[in-house]
Symmetry: C3
């Protein structure tokens, strides 16, 4: 198991999430005119990279894809499968924004669960969630030679932090961790969807003096 | 030893490979007008980065350059030695393409051997080979602020995957792992050279709709 | 403790250093018009990234910020605190160059101390110091989509190498490691300040033939 088996729901959502992340990564690869191997690899890295770095930082071995190598095939093949259907995906972009939002909150909660299971401090639990939720996209953007969207987009990392905090706070009122995971995902998803709908943004810091 | 001692041939080829990778990294550094320290560091990172990340992912410690720190000097100094001879290297570019191809298949087989020695699943054995063979060049390209060539060039990662698969398949007919390593390197090298000679490419995925 | 307690001075300087690194990272974030979350994260990554990668490479767990998660808050909040005062920082830029130079030598010595405490070879001790001192800035530049300054700027990595070598050499004359740490920091700081003052540079390697 790559995460404590609190719920089959999370396991199913995890599969949906890595497939969705791999497919959006494939589109990013297509914008950079990568070849099919590049599409495959970028799909794997985007979908599994956040969890990989989290596990390396927390010394939590074996990595998920070392224990379950089928994840490599699932994500890589999902990315490849995107190539023939990309022309239709524009019409499905709202669905993909929704799946991407699910991925964000599911990855975050899984990261929090793993750090919790290792009895790490609360701040580290949130940090592990944010790493898991956000780092895949950062790696994708670095490999596509772009400034990571994460650092500039609407509430993406914010939703991850928020989801992690909810995950920590809800058990304080006597609710089980399984329930708090679901509540955190639901509220995080809601915040993300509202942010997309109303175009909410975190304020930007613009500094122009003293260019290097 | 950084890899199971199946063969002194592989050990010698490994040295040839890290020197060749460091020297081509030096040329990339020169295109970006890096200083000598940058040349030294980029040589080390390109030649040793793939194996380092593989070992971190597989929890295989100590890292090769921590156990054999002379590798840092060999690769860094090879990169520096490239500076005075760079003007002649253009005439030797075919030799360097050849050495780079040797590096690719040697690194791949070493990665496969290490994952095999840890009794990891077959897909992970191939993945470890590809990581070892290809990641150094990806790190070089990221540090030079380019979209990694790997994701766009002729059969580079493909050759690595192919070499890893041969490494797995050959023992099935009753051949020792030492022999299968040599066979995998020979066939992988042949594929790479043919790809260079005939300009074989993996098809490209071009996606222009829905720019972010 | 993230480092062997040779000296409270180093501990205090470490705090000064991570705050200074986080604040300069915030300015880099502002030049890329990142949002506040991006500023927070870039502050953490720049200030703590070098030590994190060093610890991963040396298998030295738990990571400093996992054991002392307050570091995440200190660095992230320092970066955020930079936003309202950025307009005045231009006038303080000499002070920040000085604080950044302190960070460089303090990080380097801490990295050397940790590798020494693990009884690693001398070359690895220096390499661990350079990783700790320089990698945070490299990660910052990658995330801002720039060719890392390290590879092109005046004596930055050189100062780190120099500091590490002094750290190794001084004990040979019978001085304690605590004293050698202070000597290494003082001489490294002096070299850095002289390099800034007199614009000393490492020679550059410029290679224009054979563009890819």
């Amino acid at each position: 198991m790559i995460f404590p088996p609190t719920s089959d729901i999370i396991h199913i959502l995890y599969f949906v999430a890595i497939v969705a992340e791999a497919m959006t990564a494939a589109l990013a690869a297509g914008r950079r005119e990568m070849d099919w191997i590049g599409v495959f690899l970028l799909g794997c890295i985007t979908a599994l990279g956040g969890g990989t770095v989290r596990d390396v930082f927390l010394n939590h071995y074996p990595l998920s894809w070392v224990e379950n190598p089928s994840y490599l095939l699932v994500t890589g093949l999902s990315a490849l499968a995107t190539i023939p259907i990309a022309r239709y995906m524009y019409h499905l972009r709202k669905m993909f924004l929704f799946l991407d939002a699910i991925g964000l909150v599911v990855f975050t909660v899984i990261g929090c669960q793993i750090a919790s299971s290792l009895n790490l401090p609360l701040i580290v639990v949130v940090a592990a969630g944010v790493l898991t939720g956000c780092l895949g996209g950062v790696l994708r953007d670095i490999l596509c030679n772009e400034v990571p969207l994460l650092f500039r987009s609407e509430l993406y990392a914010t939703v991850s932090v928020f989801t992690g905090l909810i995950y920590l706070i809800v058990p304080l009122v006597g609710v089980s961790h399984a329930i708090s995971s679901l509540v955190a995902m639901a509220l995080g998803l809601m915040l993300r969807l509202l942010a997309i709908r109303f175009n909410w943004c975190v304020p930007t810091f613009v500094y122009t003096k003293d260019p290097r």
